[in-house]
């Protein structure tokens, strides 16, 4: 008997805004000029924050820090597509997502300064705390999406993780589960090409991460992760699908980690300057700026104002983070269980 083709698949890729600032008008999501400026200013704020955090780490004023430099469009574009009712499950590199969703930047500094309270979001801001064990939060997102479905809520759940994360069993289990139950989940992989020193090619023999969706029977797409319009549009569509009961989507944001993995890393040990330089020309802010300039949305003066605004927001965050009083050592007892155990009471007495 001859071999049959049971099915065949394609892998989608979305690009809207190129490096020179030209947008494919047919693909442009519908966003107002005001929103375009908001996108830009938010990316600027995220970058300003990020550079400051790196400086503060160098000065020993916060601890190890994971930079988002280069990934601003992936983070801001996806976060700004969300609605207040949606839930976010971040990994450890989502500082831009936090900022875009309105978590006060001083708290992000507080967290990286080694204080759990920095992760406490205000009521109504549905961001789950930072997850450091890679990909272990993907099943949480699937579970939360199941709860959304169970309650019949008008919401979706978004998980963020890296290219390295797609190698973990939990990635597979989470996506498989979400696909099986057609859950309202969106899985955003920021493929920044590196997992510390390990290049993307060493994570999988697959040509893209997006195509992994095929095996789970869910929607998958690769987008130019340095193109905020593409990221925004793909996220919007995925959220819509999720909320309409059409199941989960895996979005691969094809981007680049411009910084070291964290401040504890030295990327020059394992990657070339040429590679980094190549990605400099693909900068997400630069291309949006060029686009805005063509549309008369950008002037030198506007740039100065926007920079000043970002700087003062970050100045304020820094000041506020440093004036937060130290956590009470007893808090480590207070939050381990709902109430103190007999043993903890004794330990506190001896404290």
């Amino acid at each position: 008997m001859p071999e049959k083709i049971l099915d065949s698949f394609t892998v989608k890729r979305l690009d809207i805004l190129d490096e020179k600032g030209n947008a494919d008008e047919a693909l442009m999501p519908s966003i107002s000029n005001e929103d375009i400026r908001r996108f830009y200013e938010m990316m600027l704020l995220a970058r300003t924050f990020d550079q400051r955090a790196l400086n503060l780490q160098r000065e020993g004023r916060i601890g190890t820090y994971a930079s988002i430099f280069g990934q601003e469009a992936s983070q801001i574009g996806s976060a700004l597509a969300l609605e207040r009712t949606d839930w976010v499950f971040p990994s450890f590199r989502e500082n831009g997502v936090y900022i875009a969703l309105g978590h006060p930047p001083y708290k992000i500094l507080q967290y990286w300064g080694g204080d759990e309270r920095g992760l406490v979001t205000e009521k109504g801001l549905n961001i789950f705390p930072v997850c450091i064990p890679v990909a272990t939060h993907v099943p949480h997102a699937a579970g939360a999406a199941m709860a959304v479905k169970y309650r019949g809520d008008e919401a979706a759940v978004v998980a963020y993780f890296g290219d390295g994360g797609t190698s973990e069993g939990d990635f597979h289990e989470g996506l498989n589960f979400a696909g099986t139950f057609r859950l309202p989940a969106v899985f955003i992989c920021q493929n920044n090409q590196w997992a510390i020193s390990v290049p993307r090619e060493r994570q999988t023999a697959a040509g893209t991460i997006a195509q992994k969706a095929i095996a789970y029977g869910i929607e998958g797409i690769q987008v130019d992760g340095n193109d905020i319009f593409a990221v925004y549009k793909a996220t919007r569509q995925a959220l819509e699908r999720a909320k309409k009961g059409k199941g989960p989507t895996l979005i691969e944001c094809f981007t680049y980690r411009m910084s070291d993995h964290t401040t504890a890393d030295d990327a020059s040990r394992y990657r070339t300057k040429e590679e980094v330089d190549l990605w400099k020309s693909r900068d997400p802010l630069l291309r949006l700026k060029l686009f805005m300039e063509k549309k008369d949305l950008w002037t030198e003066e506007y740039q100065k104002e926007a920079e000043a605004k970002a700087r003062s927001a970050v100045d304020e965050a820094e000041k506020k983070a440093e004036s937060v009083e130290r956590p009470d050592p007893r808090d480590m007892f207070n939050y381990t269980y709902g109430k103190l155990t007999q043993r903890q009471q004794q330990e506190l007495k001896d404290f």
Partner: protein, 320 residues
């Protein structure tokens, strides 16, 4: 003789064993090109090539699971798990397979595997980078657990672990990596597993510790006639050395970095109570971390035993 820190000593052990035995391979996240996030495997890729020093995908279960397959086939893998806090995806492989394949196959197959992983407080890192979870692995018959406290012993113990026919979890204190240097001979020497060492002799009190906590202990005993034991291998532990000392001093303090409840110190305490109770002058005291989720850096210093707390426990037992 060169003075090396623990990073260099472990690196040297790996290098020498790989030179001596072509079956020894190293695998893990970032162990190749980057030389490991703590530089433990620095230079190994250049010297031994990518077939023997393997940068793996980011997946602990397969790092350990594949190592088991290699080991059963006859290789001697040394797997690195980047931090002990990230070993949990591999615990299924460790507990359900590495520990049991000898038994399951009635000795037909063995798993000569070493899993190296950094643990412990002291470097003020983000969440999950500072725990000390040795007790979990001590509760898996078939697994040996080794925790070196200095460069010399790290090298000798690692070589013994690699040559051991059974799986060994080799826990390295991040705080100790660069804390001290000592003379570490080049070339062949081993420190036997399952043997404790008496670091200093004394007659008033026995203090048992391992890993980084040994150094806090040594700080605490400066003006006390204490017998200090570095356990080195936790499971199986050297009962003879421990009981002998207890019989001599009649007082015991156990210092470990893990939270007190269910810590390995508890096992030692119970064993002493069973085997040497009648020699004791007073209660056995455990100095351990608080029974809490390990806090982020701002509160980290409140968590683990300090020399102060160890001293307090010693003066407590000295009342008897």
């Amino acid at each position: 003789m060169p003075k090396l820190n623990m990073v260099q000593a472990i690196n040297l052990a790996l290098k020498e064993e790989m030179q001596r035995d072509k079956d020894v391979v190293v695998l893990g996240e970032d162990v190749g090109r980057d030389g490991g996030v703590f530089r433990i495997t620095e230079g190994l890729l250049a010297q031994f090539g990518p077939d023997r020093v393997v940068d793996t995908p980011l997946a602990e279960s397969v790092i350990v699971g594949a190592s088991i397959g290699m080991a059963v086939y006859g290789l001697k893998p040394v797997a690195e798990v980047q931090f002990e806090g990230f070993i949990y995806p591999a615990v299924d492989q460790i507990s359900n397979h590495a520990s049991r394949i000898r038994s399951r196959s009635r000795g037909r197959h063995t798993v000569p595997l070493v899993i190296r992983t950094p643990y412990g407080v002291g470097i003020k890192a983000p969440e999950h980078h500072s725990e000390s979870c040795e007790a979990i692995f001590c509760h898996m018959p078939g697994i040996k657990v080794v925790m070196p406290a200095s460069p010399y012993y790290a090298k000798g113990l690692l070589i013994s672990s690699i040559r051991d026919p059974d799986p060994v979890i080799f826990l390295e204190s991040t705080r100790l990596y660069r804390l001290l240097r000592e003379e570490v001979p080049e070339g062949e020497y081993t420190v036997p597993l399952e043997k404790a060492r008496v670091v200093q002799e004394g007659k008033d009190v026995t203090i048992i510790s391992w890993g980084f906590m040994l150094h806090r202990t040594l700080e605490a005993v400066e003006d006390i006639d204490a017998e200090v034991i570095d356990l080195m291998t936790l499971n199986p532990f050297d009962e003879e050395t421990v009981y002998q000392s207890v019989k001599k001093t009649g007082r015991v303090v156990i210092v470990n970095e893990a939270p007190k409840t269910g810590s390995f110190g508890s096992e030692i305490s119970a064993s002493i109570a069973e085997s040497a109770m009648l020699y004791l002058k007073g209660p056995i005291l455990r100095v351990a971390s608080c029974d809490v989720v390990l806090p982020l850096p701002k509160l980290e210093d409140y968590y683990a035993p300090t020399a102060e707390r160890i001293k307090k426990a010693i003066s407590e037992v000295m009342k008897y």
